[in-house]
């Protein structure tokens, strides 16, 4: 009879419920209903599946912009020594300036530099979106989504332009 009443829970749960009910509520069948929710809460809470796997959660687009803003910021921070070193070499002397130019004409260096500048561009564009939102514009969901797409579009366009400029 219980199996018919609770077809949606597993066997162990049913056994637990039946033994609990037999012990406490078997004389009064209406109690079954009254306490069902309590028992269900106790049992079900422990068995809820935990879905915190970041690879199975579909992120809304503003969330992706947000996390990429962080990642691109970290990339730029990590690239600082390289950029400062290039800046230093380019200003130190005529000779080192020419060396820097020669180094920058190396395709592998160009790829690295392009990745760094692209990260910087993403951080820049997403940062502008941030500042505009701080002014109170485009804070509703629809506008936030639209501006997120705009960030991606301008990022791609600017990165391609920088790539063309570098090569």
């Amino acid at each position: 009879m219980l199996a018919l009443k609770f077809p949606f829970i597993n066997k162990q749960c049913k056994i637990a419920i039946i033994s609990l009910m037999n012990r406490v509520y078997s004389p009064l069948i209406e109690f079954e209903f009254k306490y069902w929710f309590k028992i269900k809460d106790i049992i079900v809470k422990d068995q809820r599946p935990v879905n915190l796997n970041l690879f199975t959660i579909r992120f809304p687009i503003p969330a992706i912009v947000s996390i990429l803003h962080r990642i691109s910021g970290i990339i730029v921070f990590l690239a600082l020594p390289l950029l400062l070193w290039l800046f230093d070499r380019s200003l130190a002397s005529e000779e080192s300036f020419q060396d820097t130019l020669a180094l920058l004409s190396n395709p592998a260096v160009k790829v690295v530099l392009w990745l760094i500048i692209s990260s910087l561009i993403f951080h820049f564009v997403a940062g502008i979106r941030h500042l505009i939102m701080d002014l109170g514009w485009g804070e509703d969901l629809c506008a936030a989504r639209a501006s997120s797409y705009l960030v991606f579009i301008s990022f791609i366009v600017l990165s391609v332009l920088v790539g063309i400029w570098l090569w």
Partner: protein, 115 residues
């Protein structure tokens, strides 16, 4: 009021304002720097050197450098506070970052004003 010893200013709102001001300066410098390079293809050393010998460019660069220190400090503090749960690991990383940033400022002073 909640204070934080490891954020740059110890106050969330002040950190927030500093982060925005430094962001605007950094963005302006980025546009200036890239814009200059794009507008001067085939740049020569003399021209490049002269640009950074100009007082306002040096000052602008230095102010932006300080902004970079502020901006990275606050930004990385935010990220570390969110993801690194062990206090001592966070302190260690943040100290390392701040020391690095101060090192960059000194380095850049040397680049700009020479030794």
């Amino acid at each position: 009021m909640v204070t934080s010893a490891t954020g740059l200013t110890g106050r969330g709102l002040r950190d927030w304002v500093f982060q925005r001001i430094s962001a605007i300066l950094l963005a302006a410098y980025f546009v200036f720097f890239i814009g200059y390079l794009v507008m001067h293809p085939g740049l020569q050393y003399q021209q490049w050197k002269e640009l950074f010998d100009t007082t306002w460019v040096r000052l602008f660069s230095f102010v932006v450098l300080l902004s970079l220190l502020i901006h990275s400090w606050i930004g990385l503090w935010t990220v570390l506070t969110d993801y690194v749960k062990k206090v001592w690991v966070r302190m260690y990383l943040l100290s390392l970052i701040v020391l690095l940033l101060i090192g960059y400022v000194v380095w850049c002073l040397q680049i700009l004003w020479g030794v």
